[in-house]
Amino acid sequence: MTTPSTTATNDDPATPAIVDLPTAGLGKRTRAHPADAGRIVCEGLVRIYKVADLEVVALQGLDLVVGSGEMIAIVGASGSGKSTLLNILGGLDVPSAGRALVAGHDLGKLSRRERTAYRRRTVGMVWQQTARNLLPYLTALENVTLPMILDGGSERQARAVRLLETVGLGERLDHKPDRLSGGEQQRVAIAVALANEPDVLLADEPTGELDSVTAAEIFGLLRRINQELGTTVVIVTHDALVSEQVGRTVAIRDGRTSTETVRRTELADDGEHRVVHEEFAVLDKAGRLQLPRAHVEALGLADRVRLRLVDDHVEIWPDAPRDMRPPGGRP
């Protein structure tokens, strides 16, 4: 459940436009995918790591729903748990508690063999470090073919060539990663992630090491994948370019989803299309929500707040009168 809090429009001239790659169409999927194949549901997801004698709670009951075919960005400060979430969704990690459903797979209940199959067929992953997305001793073509070999698929070579052409690297088939630029490596990584037609594509800061132009190209490719193949795309990012271009941005704070920003295009009175941002605070099952920090600091909210139900909304008031509130909101 979300609560609208703010709206904004995308009218920042400094943000470069997403560039669509002049490539061939991505084509259609060859495998049948149910309508909700790419749906992601996380309920009360918890992940606890033990590091030496310390227990680190990376996720503290995270709730998230991503519709099939949706493209969202996940943002958050360092250590907020976003990469942990992505690893769980990618089948690389197992939640300590809670539930994570991806394309109908309950990730907490998969056997080892089922998890391996899940990683092969259901998700594709793209990581931040460009060089580490690819096996250094294989060419671009061989890297893309590898997941198909693991899955035992047929017509591997042809499909791999098609994928690489799609991402604009048709002339780099025999190049090893050390002969590719960062952007080219990421494009190969995307092709690798798409090799077995996954329902979900997960990208962990895919543009983190790239310049803005290249980052824009990569994002454009991801958007095309989402639009043309209907693949659900989840991008963890710090990049404002990316987070401000997707339909929904989910912010994670302290291991939970705190806010969501939804963007939509609406027709203004003057006939111009404009992008409207709406920010929502996320309400969990227990009815808890995280107020945006800016709001908290602006009103000096601390410890307790007053609530008042007024017709169709809830008002939140500071506990103490304005003139009695200490600076910074602390007693």
Binding site: A52, G90, L92, R119, P136, Y137, L146, P147, L150
Partner: protein, 926 residues
Amino acid sequence: MAWLVASLRRLRDERSSTIALGLLVFATAFVFAVTPRLFEHIADGAVQTQLREASSFDRDIQLIETRRIDGTTDDPLGGVDQVGASLQAQLPASVQALISDRNVLVDSLRWTVAKTTADPSFMRFRVQPDVDAHLGYVAGHPPTGEVRQIPNPFDASGKSPPIPVFQVALSRTAATAIGASLGDIVPLTPDPTDSLVGRLVVEGGGDLVAGAEIVGLYDVTDPADPFWMDDAAFVGPSYRGTLLTRLVDVTAVLSPDAYPSLLDETASLGSPTRYTWRYRVAPDRVQANDTGRLLVDLRRLESTFPATNGRTTGTTLRSGLLPLMETWTVRWGSATTLLGVIAVGPIVVAIAALAMVVLLVVARRRPSLALSRGRGASTAQVVGSSIAEGLLVTIPAAVVAVAASVLLVPAGSPGTSIVAAFAIAFATTLLMVLAMLPTAVAAPRGPGRESVGGRRTSTRRLILEGFVVLLAIAGAYLLRERGVHSVASVGSTPASDPLIAAVPALAGVAAGLILVRLLPLPIRFLGRLAGRRRDLVPVLAMRRASGGGSAGAVLLVLMAATAIAAFSLTTLLHFDQAADEVAWQQVGADYHVGGGLAVLPSDLDPATIPEVKASAGVFAVRATLEARRLPLDLVAIDMSDLAAVVAGTPGDPDIPPELLTPTVPAGSGYPVIVSDVFGEGTQALHVGDTFTLPVEARTLTFRIVDMRPRYPGLPEDVPFVVASRDQLRADRTDGFRTNSAFYVRADDSPATAAAIRAGVRDAAPFAVVDSRAERTADLRTSPIIDAIVLGVALAGLLAAAYAAISISAALALAGTAQAVEVAHLRTMGLTRREAFGLVIVEHGPTIVIGFVAGLVFGVLLFGVVQPGLGLDRLVGSTLEIPVSLGLDQVAAIAAFAIAIAALGIGLGAYLQRRAIPVSAIRRGFE
């Protein structure tokens, strides 16, 4: 299959590490493959050398029959040869295979020289084919087969039948000994004390008389010629003796053509003739691998042909080949056991090195493996690709190693080499799989998601380590008490128990575990000391060292290598000291002149030889302690002269003062030193007790003043009674005058030894001159000792090489993080020199601790297990040698340890060459 092909493409990309691993596997497989071949080759050489150096009497086989075999004029010895061939055919196959040729001696009965001679003299005729080719006639000619008859010189009446006169040849010294000259006819009568005569029944009464016409005088061209088989009968006279008289025996050359006449002329006596067929054993035909079968056949031979025991019927065997082979087998078995124990150390270090390098190779591949798992590779696929990769690298290396070992050392079958080489290949592949298994089995975490933080040692691991330590202590106790030989080997060829032989390696592991646990203590102490300084380098270095990292691995490997070096060097030193002390024990002085229990000529006095500084005479006689039926040697020594011979040398027997007085109070018994065996059993004697011995028809009373396990110059396995000849002579002026041996003092140069031998040979050609220096050299340089030295040297070299590889791999494994740290420090201004200093100071304490611990452990381990290693079999004595290590040996081991550490650290630093700051920092963020 496609997955395998894709994963194996990694080899194409990582050529350097693949080649390095392949080379290491090749080198290790080669060492493991060639070592058994090398030692098989050495074993062949050792057994052949041992046989070659043994006397012909010991090495060759003699079959003896006492009977009459007819001969014809045309082919006098044809029948004898046939019997010899027939007997040879009865030898077991493995023994027959060793025989290179055969000859025969035909000995007549012993004749008494029936004329006046200086000493009672006796003559035996001997027919030996081809003997003339080995004699140098100085007068006359070789005898022919002509036998003429002359009147009996003892019967003036002429009624007795004529006597046969045989043509003979004598050596010049033999002729002189019996007072004969060229052309003399020596009258002979059968010696009734000869076993061949004892059953004579003389028909018609009277003694048979024969004559020996001396037609030729000769010198033996080369007494050492193998033709003689160490039989000096033709060289000159030999002597027998009693307390009062000396008897002279000479052997006369009789022509084979005279053999039929000899049979005819002695037919009336019914006297048999002694036939000795000599079968020469060719040492080059003996193979170490066949000694087991040979021993079985030799024992069977002894049951087929019993040894000479005074009987004169049937075929008897005379050969020292069985005890020679048994001794060699025992000694070689002990040598291989010792080498097996020493070899376990380098094997463990080699496997540790392989493991370290494999870890290094796998560590570099772990990100790729993790990525493959993240992309959906199953555990089985990852494990399968590792196995395929491992076999692809290691099998060709093993094949090449086997081929190289077979080409280099052709000895023996390649089976063992193949097994050894492929064992290394499979072991390396297994190590690769095990190293990679955690990544293959664990849930993939994606790139850059390595587990962080330290791990505490679990209780389970502590319990396991404690168990290993206890096991090692128990094993060391068993090894010391029971020895390294298996129970099944008691009474037969010793075979080592592999479990017991592995105890030193287990003890090393246990010591290493304890050391690794204790290492942080001195490091922390040094860290605190370093913290008081203002210098950055020692502080940082100690902080890095106390943080763990590669220190434990470096310490273990260095300690192992140093311990191997210390153990090996202590072993060699032990042999060196043992050779010297055993030689003194066996010879008793600088030289020992003796003829066994035969009496030496009265005119032999070594003191007259210019090179001799002092000598002491010895009289020895066999006796029996009747109360216990204990055979022993009674040895009477000129104690007054002995002090001059052995004073100040290790051969000084520390004579009790009671033996040094010129006379003995009447009735108190002659003071003697006796064997420890006197104090054993139900009728044990003790110091102060008296006993009597019947010696040459006299009963002498002796009083025990000392009991010892051994006495210098006397055999260790024969009980002895050592008395003062001066005291015995004081009471018995007519006895103990002949000499059985002499202890001689002189310098140990080869020229002196040759001069002494020449001087002794003139008077007593059959005497044996034993040089203590030569005995020491023999013990030090025997093929078996050479093999041990080679094995020890190889073990040390291998341990050093593999230790260096292990250390460099361990440093490289820990290197990436350290390289980043150093790179960061260098961006802050740390110089290259200081960075190098960091490495030195960080590893310095570990090197010192590893060296000291290894040295102490190696020497201690030798001291603890040495009684169980069977080293006494190798040196041929149970003499206890103290364990010691000199300062120069310690320095050598220190240099060895430093060289290993330097090489390892240098290699590791080279592998860590990412310390270019920018590159290292950039990579550190990956």
